[in-house]
Symmetry: C2
Subunit: 365 residues, 2 copies
């Protein structure tokens, strides 16, 4: 950790990996199948991306973890030489498989690609992640649905803790950091149990899982306010799958170091663009004759070269370039937001930053 505001939980840190250093708080662009959709590694570097996330579940199914291992791992395979984090596949096994069958041993599920049947245990998940060779890997956890009864949440948490133990035992690559995942739903005492169970195992970092699954922001923040202060300060804190720009600002203010989310990339492809004055849908008729850039305050390639009118034309014409320019802009927005947050923490001006952020977005386009 580099600095911590006296009156804030927010902190400015640095994660060191064999593929380089990540200045935190940081946002990880999602590169599900070994590519951040539409972006080259050169684009990502230009955007200032420090670390990306890839999905073990997708890469295990296609092209296969052994296949990638034979190519020297994900880094050379996708030509990305900076840090990578892989999730363990737990979330995908549950969210993409209505027919998954959970036992104490692991999860049996059907491929969403060809319907073939597969079985992943904590040991298998770690084997897959070791083969992929990311710098940070995640323990295999059970993902709780939202909402869930206390009984369900407790049973699920206990299984996640047993799986965390098995994940840790299977972990063997010294060049990979292994993070544990705190579950427990919206039950404060279960979250605390979840954290304590993981602390015994001495993970390299701790992730808050099971959020951003449909609950209101307020509820998510309550979980963070409760749990983050209990995490030892030397452990990186990763909030999985979150979130909107506002979620990021609020979670950083509550001490989160690391994020990943499909929103900037997925929204870009459906024409929803993030700006300092709020979000806009480029297909909206009001942008037909609009010669302004998406965000007049933005310095990205898209905003410095193209008008909303042109981007709307590309989007309505279903042009490939629409997805690319939109993705470029949205990632730039997210990564700039993070660098703004880092700077604000360094300058002890996070409160002003939050205030300005909220004020500007309230103005609207």
């Amino acid at each position: 950790m580099l600095s911590e505001d006296k009156n804030q939980l927010a902190r400015r840190g640095r994660l060191r990996t064999v593929h380089g250093t990540v200045e935190t708080p940081a946002f990880m662009s999602v590169g599900t199948a070994g590519t951040v959709k539409g972006m080259t590694p050169a684009d990502l570097e230009d955007l200032g991306a420090q670390i990306i996330l890839c999905n073990a579940y997708h890469l295990y199914l296609r092209p296969g973890h052994d296949f990638i291992k034979k190519r020297g791992g994900l880094h050379p395979f996708m030509a990305w030489n900076k840090p990578i984090l892989t999730d363990s596949g737990g979330y995908q096994v549950f969210s993409l498989n209505a027919l998954s069958k959970i036992t104490e041993e692991g999860v049996e599920f059907q491929s969403h690609i060809d319907g073939s049947r597969h079985f992943v245990s904590p040991e298998k998940a770690i084997e897959i992640e070791a083969a992929l060779g990311a710098d940070i890997i995640m323990a295999f956890d059970e993902c709780l649905e939202y909402p869930a009864t206390r009984e369900r949440a407790e049973a699920s948490l206990n299984r996640t803790l047993r799986w965390a133990d098995r994940s840790m035992s299977a972990h063997h690559r010294e060049d990979q950091f292994l993070y544990g995942i705190i579950q427990g739903g919206c039950y404060p005492d279960l979250r605390k149990q979840g954290l304590e169970g993981l602390l015994h195992l001495d993970f390299d970092g701790l992730a808050v899982g099971g959020l951003s699954v449909g609950e209101p922001q307020e509820e998510m923040l309550k979980v963070l306010e409760h749990i983050v202060p209990l995490i030892p300060k030397d452990k990186p804190r990763y909030l999985m799958g979150v979130g909107t720009p506002s979620d990021l600002v609020e979670a950083v203010s509550r001490g989160i170091d690391l994020f990943d989310c499909v929103l900037p990339t997925r929204h870009a492809r459906t024409g929803i663009l993030f700006t300092s004055r709020g979000d806009l849908h480029i297909k909206n008729a009001r942008f037909k004759d609009d010669d302004l850039p998406l965000d007049p305050d933005c310095r990205c390639y898209t905003c410095t070269h193209f008008s909303r009118a042109y981007l709307r034309h590309l989007f309505l014409s279903k042009e490939l370039l629409a997805m690319r320019l939109n993705t470029l802009h949205n990632l730039y927005y997210y990564l700039s937001l993070m660098s703004g947050l880092r700077k604000a923490i360094e300058q002890h001006s996070l409160d002003q930053f939050r205030h300005r952020f909220q004020h500007n977005r309230a103005i609207g386009i």
Copy 2:
């Protein structure tokens, strides 16, 4: 014209426009709807693209030529500051409209987007092209089907000549060059008539139209061998819609200066890649474990960063990046081929260049 080989019709030239100079022979990437699919203007500049082609037909229908005129024309609208050529829409009116109705006045057709009815005459085509503001614009012609009877070819040629006259009369922007289109199908005397009719009108350049519509390469080359030597040397010669790498090499050898074709961009999106050793289909199972680049002799971004195995994975996963990396490679291949041809003409070594080109492609992947 810069140089001309004594024993060759091939020539090395230079086209000057208000948006810059084009070294010829040159290939124009196709940017139908105001974007070369998936490429940013920065990509195109990096690839060495000197000039691109946009389709008046598509831009007239969407977003509209007046709309683009209000934005200052195509150049600022699409952020491409180098030369642009627009076709007149003649070809699209015929090829995209089974129900088009031709009269002496012009063509009535249905939009392929929303079915609305439109009418384009030579005067209207020039008005559209003036509004779009390209550096080189094309006369409005009738496109002959292949094969066509002599009677049909003659009637069509005569209409094209009357329309060329009307196109010339409607032409008024002094910053735009207007090219005429030589029709006449595969009938040598009609082609000659077509050329002579246009020479009376003193177009800035002459295009050979109605080729690459299904005829064998041999037949196309016969037309070129017949007609190109009859074109005055001070007129740029543009072979419309052609073609394969071999077509380009052979047509340059027969004195063509300018080309456009959708092949490199369209094939890229379907996974067909051009290489110095011939074409390959990336989805082919033989490339599954292939850690070589697409073309080991190629210096493009795709070939210097990614393996066939990775590109095949992206293609099978229907990833956006597949289309982009493939397009980048294919355009690099085409543009490198053209710069190789220019250099060979300068060095009076075109015969060796052709020989090496054919020899290498015959080796296979």
